[in-house]
């Protein structure tokens, strides 16, 4: 028992935010992170499962974990930042899931201001959009020390390397700063 407490005590705290344009999958990414790190409690999972079924969706919609306001669920969008918490054996994480709509940019700024890492998602089909650029610029303006660009929904472009490379090239031109690249797909099946 004492060992258990000791391990838990040795955490360090990392705050990160997710940003990017509307429907690039920010809330779903967080839902998936929480699911994979086993941070979703049984009663929470059952709640979003029945909510997904009610909406007529075949798969469990993990975005419902963070979109907690009624207006958000109705419109299927994120209006304000939602904070979520999870931990791995090494770190404790505070995630700020920020909205993608231009009208709610101030909420994105609120969520990102305290972040150590900003994650910006890009839909592989859409490429770089206005909000992608805006969020990248805001993140650098806020002096967030690390920026990670995640190219998402790779399954919808059949995991084509060239789709990934294209976006990467365009990003390099438009951002002209060193950014980390990663390819990602989290299509969720059960």
């Amino acid at each position: 028992m004492r060992i258990c407490v000791k391990i838990l005590n040795d955490f360090e705290l990392l705050r990160f935010s997710t940003a990017g344009s509307v429907d690039d999958g920010k809330s779903t990414l967080i839902g998936r992170l929480l699911y994979d790190s086993k941070s979703i409690f049984e009663d929470q999972y059952d709640a979003i499962k029945s909510a997904s079924e009610k909406r007529g969706e075949e798969e469990v919609n993990l975005a419902l974990l963070t979109d907690g306001l009624k207006a958000e669920r109705e419109q299927g969008i994120t209006i304000d930042v939602a904070y979520r918490y999870f931990s791995t054996p090494k770190r404790k994480f505070i995630i700020a899931d920020t909205p993608g709509h231009i009208q709610y940019t101030r909420n994105m700024v609120t969520g990102s201001s305290t972040a150590n890492v900003a994650l910006i998602l890009v839909d592989a089909r859409q490429g770089i959009l206005e909000q992608t650029r805006r969020h990248a610029i805001i993140s650098s303006l806020l002096q967030i020390p690390h920026l990670v660009i995640c190219i998402n929904k790779m399954d919808l472009v059949d995991y084509k390397q060239e789709a990934f490379d294209n976006i990467k090239r365009n990003l390099k031109i438009s951002l002209r700063s060193s950014i980390y690249m990663m390819s990602l797909s989290y299509q969720f099946r059960r």
Partner: protein
């Protein structure tokens, strides 16, 4: 130089900063105290924030009259320990005066009547900030709330129109009659709270530790046998070893079967639990629609 702060120390520093900010920006704040672990931790942090001076605001307890006796015993002990003033807003008085109507039926709870009494207490006391122990990990709507959360003159929160809150800048501007709810431990998780209480050796109400109690089951939740809850004929109380994961009004606080009798055992239980702490709160289940709505 590699400077690394313990995660609890970082959370503590954040909360203490916010508590001091409240004292600096508001003219008449008050700390909402329920007797649960979250309000205990907030009041404990308040003591730390202003030590060696006294906490510069009073504690406000909204008393439903349907308490566990242990809660009131602890409340009085803790107020003495902190050396601060205690104010009580009584739901019973509001019922007697006809301001609110008590719910009827088996699932009647005074939990919802608390809001009216709270708003009235805030208005009567001319409080412009109410510090609470809500945490973002507790529940989906709370996950969206700012540290400084604005309330209009009717005490309502407008989640679709929250203010920006950048870095450590907190905006407390408001019109006359409006107030703020402030949540210093927004970023703490249930596990953080327990680890901190253990590390700081904060005295806790006995309800949190495993004890023998007469309980009965309703809708999959174990409720404490008490005169305040009318029982259906088939609900026969049995003696079990239980503990509370959250403490509220008797009528809505579910208890859990548990053998955890020390704080270390509680931490182990919380760390391995597959259910949310509020899974045992009947008020949350009832208010699901409202929660999403708010």
């Amino acid at each position: 130089m590699n400077y690394r702060l313990h995660h609890l120390k970082e959370l503590e520093a954040e909360s203490i900063f916010i508590l001091r900010e409240v004292a600096a920006q508001f003219s008449n704040p008050v700390l909402l105290f329920s007797g649960g672990k979250d309000s205990i931790i907030v009041s404990y942090l308040a003591k730390k924030a202003f030590f060696p001076a006294k906490i510069p605001f009073a504690l406000l307890h909204i008393d439903t009259g349907h308490n566990f006796p242990e809660t009131i015993e602890y409340r009085d002990f803790w107020v003495k320990e902190l050396g601060c003033r205690l104010l009580v807003g009584s739901v019973q008085d509001a019922i007697d005066q006809g301001k609110v109507t008590e719910e009827k039926g088996f699932n009647a709870s005074r939990n919802f009547l608390q809001t009216t009494v709270l708003l009235e207490s805030l208005e009567n006391g001319k409080f412009d900030a109410a510090i609470g122990g809500a945490r973002r990990d507790e529940e989906k709507a709370r996950a969206k709330e700012r540290f400084f959360s604005h309330r209009d003159e009717f005490g309502q929160w407008d989640p679709k129109n929250q203010r920006p809150e950048l870095w450590n800048l907190f905006n407390a501007r408001k019109h006359l009659g409006e107030h703020f709810r402030v949540f210093p431990i927004s970023n703490w998780t249930e596990l953080d709270v327990w680890e901190y209480l253990a590390a700081e050796k904060v005295p806790l109400p006995s309800l949190y530790f495993a004890h023998k109690r007469k309980v009965f089951e309703r809708d999959g939740i174990l409720l404490a046998d008490s005169d305040f809850i009318p029982k259906k004929p088939h609900e026969i109380p049995l003696e079990m070893t239980v503990r509370c994961r959250t403490i509220g009004d008797v009528s809505c606080t579910g208890v859990w079967e548990s053998e955890a009798s020390t704080i270390e055992e509680i931490i182990e239980e919380v760390a391995t639990s597959r259910k949310t702490e509020r899974g045992g709160r009947t008020d949350d289940k009832r208010s699901h629609r409202k929660v999403i709505n708010c």
